[in-house]
Amino acid sequence: MNLNYILSSEDRQAAELAVGSPIEYCIPANLSILSRLSAGYFVIGEQHWAYVENGEVLERGAIADAGEYKMVPLVGSVVLEAEEAGTKRFIVRATMEHAARFGYLAGVLNDKAAQRKVRIFNNEEERVCVECGGSLIPGTRACPRCMSKAAAFKRLFSVSKARWGGFAIALTVLLAGAGIALLNPYLLKLLINGALQPAEGEASSMTVFYWAIGGLVACLLVGELMSLIRGRVMAKVSSSIAADLRKLVFDKTQSLSLGFMTSQRAGDMMNRITSDTERIRHLIQELCTTAIFQLIILVSASILLFQADWRLALIVLLPAPIVAYMHMYIWKYVLHKLFHKLWRIHDKANSFLHDVLSGIRVVKAFGQEGREMKRFREYNGDFAAMTIKSERLFSILSPITNYLIQLGQYFVLLLGCNMILNNQMDVGELIQFSTYAAMIFGPIAWLMFMPRWIANAVISIDRIFSVIDEQPEVVDDKEPVKHPINGGIRFQNVYFGYKSYEPVLKNVNIDIRQGEMIGLVGHSGSGKSTLINLISRFYDCNEGAILIDGVDIRSMKQEDLRSQIGVVLQETFLFRGSILDNIRYARPEATDLEVIEAARVANAHTFIINLPDGYDSLLEENGNNLSGGERQRLAIARAVLKDPKILILDEATASLDIDTEMAIQEALQRVTKGRTTIAIAHRLSTLRSVDRLIVLEKGVVAEVGSHKELMEKQGIYYMLITAQRGMSKSVKGQPQLTAAVEP
């Protein structure tokens, strides 16, 4: 990310003078307070900052005079604010694309103001193309404008090299097929000149007739045969290449870090594996069959035309590109836009239908049936009107475009017949000529659509290779250590932020003994889930180290580390399959008995045994055919089967009713015996059973101690607990329900 923009010389001079030192950082602050775009820049020197615009320094200040510099995102712009002398002040303003830059610089300013070491981890990539400044295609490093099509195809070529045998066969067959197609008109000419309409003075020859007919039939048969073989070969080749690509992408998705995968949408990834590869397969198939075929036909037919009669050929060929262009123009601009509009209205009407019909319960509950009927009438009317309009237009345009294409043939007929009457040509030649002419238009029109279609395929190629090229963020050490975990965890001066300019955890120092149960408490957004992600090494901390039994987790193999940590999250995720399969996911080699034992520990055995299919019951997607509590217990059973030394529970009992919660709490008591457990907890019941509590507040460890100690301290923990108790006391006559704490 660029934090050092180059200033014009007059700007730079003015800025350096204002900050009294060489410029350390400089970014655009391109929005004035009156909402006009400006060529302003925000400059940071050693101890001063300045705002310079067109050679003039409009504002400056000493960094240490203010504190709490913050990038405040507003609606459509960002503002840099600070606190000075107890009150807030506004510094500069910019448009959204510089938001992240201001985020970084706010951090820098805060560090400078507090006279700390400037902590900046500028490893965020620029979201714009370095060459043209346009945005990159999301999820890739490619710019759609500067993308080199040749490079993309080269990559594709390297992957498809392995299938060259199939390509060679297909190409041979292709050439043969093209040759036969071109032979057809010649045979036709022979037929006509030799048998049907012989030249004056010559008798019609039946032999020629039969040979010609026979030849035509043979051409037809062989041509179709070629086509068949070609189709089969290319289907195999293209499908294999697509399968290869899919395998590459999927394997990569499994090996990439969680950070990359969470930054992508699951649907997007799925699209790359399925529809993008499909597009490439289609491209290969079409390119190596139809495209080359069309090209060969086009070139050969043109040559033959010129050979036959160059004047007629010119008359045919000159208008051809123009006609094809008009055809494409009408299709692409007029019709395409029309159908796009129709599709939009259809889409809106459809969404409306879907909404109302699936939400019919709400419609009825609020008595809005009349209103919905009115609205449907409107949508329906719009759609009908649009359909009529587009069909009308289509019915006019379609014949016109077809007519234009055929026009050339009429010209040929006109001139050709003239030439026949003047004895410059015979019928057979004319028929041959017009057949070749007819063969020209198809390829030209088809080839007109190729560029767009190649461009789309190139994007697909890029999207796929961007995943294949992606390097995992969390990499194993060159020589990873295999370390059987005992359970002692230590955080040493850990700093971490998902976006490095926004640290979520700051200077965290924790020491957890083996077998201890730790409760992690704090307001939402204080960094609890992040802490847990770091223990599992889903992300690497920016600074500091995390040690397990004294060994840095970065020196351990990732799979090894995670296989010894068990996690039960707030939102369970179960795969499709039987309950047995799901529990066994933790350890595929576990025996049936071990699965049952794990289920018993997790208090899941009772409800499973009561199901009609028992442990073989099939779960639907995400186990939606079970209740929340039952799914949670399966997740706990899964974690238990793993027999991990470290167990992480992320609000495992949120949003469950009291009976289920008690069952789960009891299960957890059994499960956590002897294991180092870290539980993010909001429920008093969970908190009371922990050995020690760690209170996080805004990313910093605020308090550490046992429940008793922290209550006596009357700090943040005390406030959280009394707030909870207060809430439960105000609900009279009900058992002490504990709810999640909200800030």
């Binding site: 929005l31 307070i33 009156l34 909402s35 006009r36 775009l37 507003l74 609606v75 459509g76 712009s77 503002v79 604010e81 000075e84 107890g86 009150t87 807030k88 002040r89 506004f90 303003r93 448009t95 959204m96 694309e97 938001a99 979201r127 346009g134 945005s135 295609i137 999301p138 759609p144 404008r145 993308m147 836009k337 796009h340 509009k341 939009r344 889409d347 008595g367 809005q368 049936e369 009349g370 209103r371 009927m373 009115k374 461009a455 789309n456 994007i459």
Partner: protein, 189 residues
Amino acid sequence: MKTTEALLETETETKGNSEASGRELENAAKIHYLTGSNAKFRKTEGNMLSVTADGETHPAVYVHCSFPHTNRTSYLSIRNIDNKEIGMIRSLGDFDEATAKLLEEQMQIRYFCPEITKVLSMKEEFGYSYWEAETTAGVCRFTVRNGGANAKLVTAVRLVISDVNGNRFVIPDIGKLGDKEYRMVETIM
């Protein structure tokens, strides 16, 4: 089973009932309204908005619009940095001209959404459209991703366009666009 006519009639009936419940709603909502008599706004040296209401001074407050696209003069929520509401302004008319102007300025800062006065060019390629337009903030170049989510009609005629960086632009009335401009805009809706 209600007939169509009966259903359409019920609609007008329910409107009568809502007036009575409106007063109860008002009592339950407990909105604290700020007016010229109980609140004084001023601009601080640090260019922030400050308000003194009911004896208490809040050094930095922000003006939030309930209806940023359709109504910038009514039902403005005045909140401090911790997102706690100091009060609501029923209408800018409750304040003198100078204060109203100050509040409008603050809204301009918070809601930056330049109006497109003329679409100069639009090119569509590879799933993005590259725009160049004259706006109330100057000539802007921006890139919009294809797909309906980035150009939304917030009223029947007002179109808000979000670009890939989060910048927003608004076309106040798509009906007033020239033919050519309309066709360009249509492709992203």
